[in-house]
């Protein structure tokens, strides 16, 4: 089995999957850094082939992919802005909008019921299934928030290995300060490889945050459009899934984005 070129550890994500489709999520390793335990930091790691041209190709592919993903996130954000529950519902069918609408519908009624006055005895009832869906949504939302919280709590570290040889490490902290340690006697080409790993990791970190911004805005907008009280929180997992579905659907297009977006 071929080891993945780009791995990422120190943080979990829904379904243990990188929504950007660049990084493989890694189980926590034994301490590679003596000073800190791995779970304290996010580690972005590139494992490149020894052959120069193959290594460049892998890195270029990763950088190209993240650039497309950034565009695709813009498309997803705009689709969310345009999302209108009513036509999506009538059109029915097999696209991310239908799934999002279904999730919204499932949450709407218990959320409305929850929003009614508590001073009277509950005039509204919800089915156990609806309550369960509501609870699941709360749990998923808490999980999603906890996962993304790691992105902002932890420092980012990057490592590059070429042909299994560790060639460089970098740490980037909150303010953007960078500390890089190179293996002595490296060639400029090896240095370029690590520089690209750092670029890729930083772009990915920013893209993940951007994804969360889109999800948060989208959930808020949808909560208002579809009148789901508390939907700005409850719909976070559904909107996250929607964005991931849109990113996946866009993969089918030539160039990865609709015409006019390139």
């Amino acid at each position: 089995m071929v080891a993945p070129a780009f791995t990422f550890s120190g943080m979990s994500l829904p379904e243990d999957r990188d929504p950007l489709g660049v990084w493989e999520l890694d189980v926590p390793r034994a301490a590679a850094f003596a000073a800190r335990t791995p779970t304290e930091d996010l580690v972005w790691r590139a494992d490149l082939p020894a052959a120069r041209s193959a290594a460049r190709e892998v890195l270029q592919a990763g950088l190209a992919r993240i650039a497309v993903r950034e565009q695709q996130l813009n498309v997803a954000a705009q689709r969310l802005r345009y999302f209108d529950p009513v036509p999506a519902y009538r059109e029915g069918a097999r696209d991310p909008e239908a799934a999002l609408l279904a999730a919204t519908m499932a949450l709407r009624s218990p959320a409305v019921a929850l929003g009614a006055r508590a001073s009277e005895a509950p005039a509204l009832e919800t089915s156990p299934e609806a309550q369960a869906a509501y609870r699941d949504s709360i749990i998923q939302c808490e999980t999603l928030l906890a996962q993304f919280r790691q992105l902002i709590q932890k420092i980012a570290r990057m490592e590059t290995r070429v042909g299994n040889r560790l060639v460089a490490r970098s740490i980037v902290d909150w303010t953007g300060d960078v500390q890089t340690t190179w293996l002595a006697e490296l060639t400029p080409a090896d240095m370029q490889d690590h520089l690209d790993t750092v670029r890729l990791a930083l772009a990915s970190r920013c893209a993940l945050l951007r994804l969360l911004v889109i999800v948060t805005s989208g959930a808020l907008g949808l909560a208002i459009k579809a009148q789901v009280p508390g939907g700005q929180f409850l719909l976070l997992p559904a909107v996250y899934q929607y964005v991931c579905d849109v990113l996946k659907a866009l993969e089918a297009l030539p160039g990865g984005v609709p015409e006019g977006w390139q």
């Binding site: 009614a116 740490i171 890089t180 930083l202 951007r210």
Partner: protein
């Protein structure tokens, strides 16, 4: 420059106002040289003589004996002081905080819930009339109070506007600071109730710089206030929806250069621009719109056509109507002035020098009593289209006299009539409108303010947002630049060409004078879905929305399991009981999983008694929900802490490069107290003020290690870029999360 436009600037300058008595231009054509002399306040004796002759001629026709009024020096100085204060605020808007007029963190400008809503009455309005008007407006006041919560205000009595007060004086009296609008101090959306005599246009312009302002003026017609309130509430509660249809009306009268310009270089390009939903660098249209065929010149810009467009004819009734024409002008105190000034002169008028007949123009009286204009919004480009001030601003600049051009300031009759028949807002021009303020001296279209305003309205944003992002911004920028230019010209007469100055001056006045008649928080109630009200194809249809990559699963792909929501009928019935009446009848629901899910109810106005309270219904879910909110709050706090740390440390950016023969054995830490068993080879420290400390890597022979230096430099650039992007994204995330926490339940 196109030859045609070139001739406009070669010949005398013309303005969009025609005198109804003489059939001549309200302001005689001027050469740009003469206009510039007047702008600079340096009229020649000939200018003054010809001005006086012209005014005397008009006075003689209307039998007016008191047209020229000269003010005292003291009053003139007061006027200059007013302008200085106003200019300061304009400069702030143009240069210091160009984007949004509300304080950061206030929320979404388009939401009354976030930025509030208020009404200002004149302090000296008779108490009885004021109470009657408030009573008549009660449905609207209740709606806005519901929406705005504690950001709703009524400024009346001592808090109302006092006659003669400048905006800064009013604010000072109320303890409101200048600059960006703080909704907690004074809401963003302000509706003035009163005539321009009671609350002058000058105050409205000043207030409008940093806020979304509209005026409601039906005089003492209390019933009209009630009708308007009723129409707004109907539109906002979903009882009125209109097809997404826009119409454009632009006469080009024979031999008349002003309307040739406004028809072909304002209305037509605007129309063409809006047929493209998302042109490059333009605000994209969020919805498809049907644009009726352009009614330009001989092609339908007639009185009869306007009668149809504004007659409530269901086949023609547009949600948005844009007109560009002459506005009819009368001498001060003329019997018809109050009823007809600002009326839209249609294609029926044969041109300059020809008699203006009653049937040539369209005014408030031409709006049929039974016309149903519910939900419409109208944008009028015409002299006096929105109203007329008492004193002539043009004469003030030229001759330092304030000529009375009306017995008192008044709102034009046509917008009043439109609002009485159901229109939600009219965006129009007070005093003269200069036709070439949308074309630059080099012949380039400068219609961006019109484009932005229309696109914003067509995206369903409030009219107060449409004007702020367009004409208010343009006014702030032009005014700021113009005052600087005039200052320079005092010292260097060659600083700017004559017609460039003329252009700037007229463009500035033009931009200032766009006002909203109506509630500035209203938005067009067009259909937001593709339901049965979808308009039929007539004329050009707006193109498809930009491709957003909606992928249709082809037939040969495996069937994707569609997610059918299970609908509990009791739940639906209970939900229906909880939500107030809607105009959409609800279909019957079957208990089992449905093949055809019921239509999603449209967002509707939820009455106060059904809004979420602090304590939720006890299914055990309330506690869980509260814990979730706490998680989000903790997340937001974490974000705030991180941003706070970043703010403290952001003073410098450190990029360090080490090398070591044993990378695996190195402990790397940004905490400098820990030992780093590697050699520091390069360091760049970038200070916040741009100072740089650079330590370059040397080889053993003391030469610069170029390879390492190049990659270190690249790392510095990457660090700078990525820091900016990352912190900006974090800040945006914090804002979104705070927005989520702010709204209920």
């Amino acid at each position: 420059m196109p030859d045609e436009l070139h001739t406009f600037f070669q010949e005398d300058l013309v303005f969009n106002g025609v005198n109804a008595i003489t059939g001549e231009y309200g302001q005689p054509p001027l050469s740009s040289r003469a206009l510039v002399r007047l702008i600079r306040g340096l009229p020649s004796p000939d200018d003054y003589r010809s001005f006086v002759e012209h005014q005397k001629r008009l006075a003689a026709l209307a039998k007016i004996s008191d047209r020229l009024t000269r003010i005292s020096d003291a009053r003139f100085e007061q006027q200059e002081a007013d302008r200085a204060v106003h200019l300061k605020e304009l400069r702030f808007k143009a240069h210091d905080q160009a984007k949004w007029p509300v304080k950061p963190g206030a929320g979404n400008l388009a939401r009354v819930e976030d930025v509030g809503w208020a009404v200002i009455f004149p302090s000296d309005m008779p108490a009885t009339l004021q109470e009657e008007i408030k009573e008549a407006l009660q449905p609207l006041l209740a709606l806005r109070r519901q929406q705005a919560g504690d950001l709703f205000r009524i400024y009346e009595g001592e808090q109302g506007y006092r006659s003669g007060e400048r905006k800064d004086q009013y604010f000072q009296r109320l303890g409101i600071g200048p600059g960006l609008a703080d909704p907690k101090e004074m809401p963003f959306y302000i509706m003035l109730v009163g005539t321009p005599n009671e609350i002058p246009y000058g105050f409205q312009y000043q207030l409008d710089v940093m806020r979304g302002v509209g005026r409601l003026d039906f005089g003492d017609d209390v019933e009209a206030y009630h009708e308007y309130a009723r129409h707004v509430v109907a539109a906002e509660t979903g009882l009125v929806t209109l097809p997404r249809r826009a119409a454009f009306f632009a006469p080009t009268n024979p031999g008349d250069r002003a309307t040739q310009l406004s028809g072909r270089y304002l209305a037509q390009p605007l129309y063409e621009n809006l047929t493209v939903p998302a042109p490059e660098r333009e605000l994209a249209l969020a919805y498809d719109w049907e644009l009726l065929p352009l009614f330009l010149g001989e092609n339908g810009a007639t009185h009869a056509r306007l009668q149809r467009l504004l007659g409530g004819d269901l086949d023609q009734k547009p949600a948005l109507l844009f007109t560009a024409s002459h506005g009819v002008e009368f001498p001060a105190n003329h019997p018809a002035q109050l009823r007809h000034q600002g009326a839209l002169l249609c294609q029926d008028w044969p041109g300059p020098g020809q008699e203006v007949r009653r049937e040539h123009y369209f005014t408030g009286e031409d709006v049929a009593e039974d016309a149903d204009l519910s939900g419409m919004m109208v944008f009028i480009f015409a002299c006096y289209g929105a109203g007329t001030p008492e004193l002539d601003q043009f004469a003030l600049q030229a001759f330092k006299v304030r000529e009375k051009i009306a017995p008192h300031g008044f709102t034009a009759a046509l917008p009043q009539a439109l609002l009485k028949r159901g229109a939600l807002a009219v965006l129009g021009h007070v005093e003269r409108a200069w036709g070439y303020s949308f074309v630059s001296p080099i012949g380039r279209l400068e219609n961006q303010a019109f484009v932005t305003a229309m696109r914003t309205l067509m995206n369903g944003e409030p009219v107060g947002v449409a004007t702020d992002s367009s004409f208010n911004m343009r006014y702030a920028e032009l005014s700021s630049d113009l005052s600087a230019d005039l200052e320079e010209l005092k010292w260097d007469s060659g600083y700017m060409s004559d017609y460039e100055l003329a252009h700037r001056w007229t463009a500035n006045n033009d931009a200032r004078s766009y006002v909203v008649i109506g509630d500035p928080a209203v938005r067009s109630p067009f259909v937001r879905d593709g339901g049965p009200d979808e308009p039929s194809l007539e004329g050009s249809r707006a193109e498809e929305r930009p491709d957003l990559g909606m992928v249709t699963v082809p037939d040969d792909q495996p069937e994707v399991e569609s997610v059918e929501p299970e609908v509990d009928e009791r739940l639906v019935v209970a939900s229906q009981a909880a939500i107030s009446e809607s105009s959409t009848p609800r279909p019957a629901i079957q208990e089992s999983a449905v093949q055809e899910p019921p239509p999603m109810p449209r967002p509707i106005y939820v009455p106060a008694e059904l809004r979420a309270g602090e304590d939720g219904v006890a299914f055990g879910l309330g506690d869980q929900f509260d814990r979730l909110k706490e998680s989000l709050r903790a997340f937001t706090d974490q974000l705030a802490v991180s941003l706070g740390k970043a703010a403290e440390d952001i003073v410098t950016l450190d990029v360090r490069t080490y090398s070591t023969p044993d990378l695996a054995g190195v402990a790397q830490s940004l905490d400098e107290r820990e030992e780093v068993r590697a050699t520091l080879r390069a360091l760049t420290r970038v200070a916040f003020d741009g100072d740089l400390d650079i330590y370059m890597p040397e080889k053993s022979d003391s030469s610069i290690d170029q390879a390492l230096w190049m990659v270190h430099r690249a790392m510095v650039e990457e660090a700078q870029d990525s820091r900016a992007r990352f912190l900006a994204t974090m800040a945006e995330l914090a804002t979104r999360l705070l927005d989520s926490l702010k709204i209920g339940p």
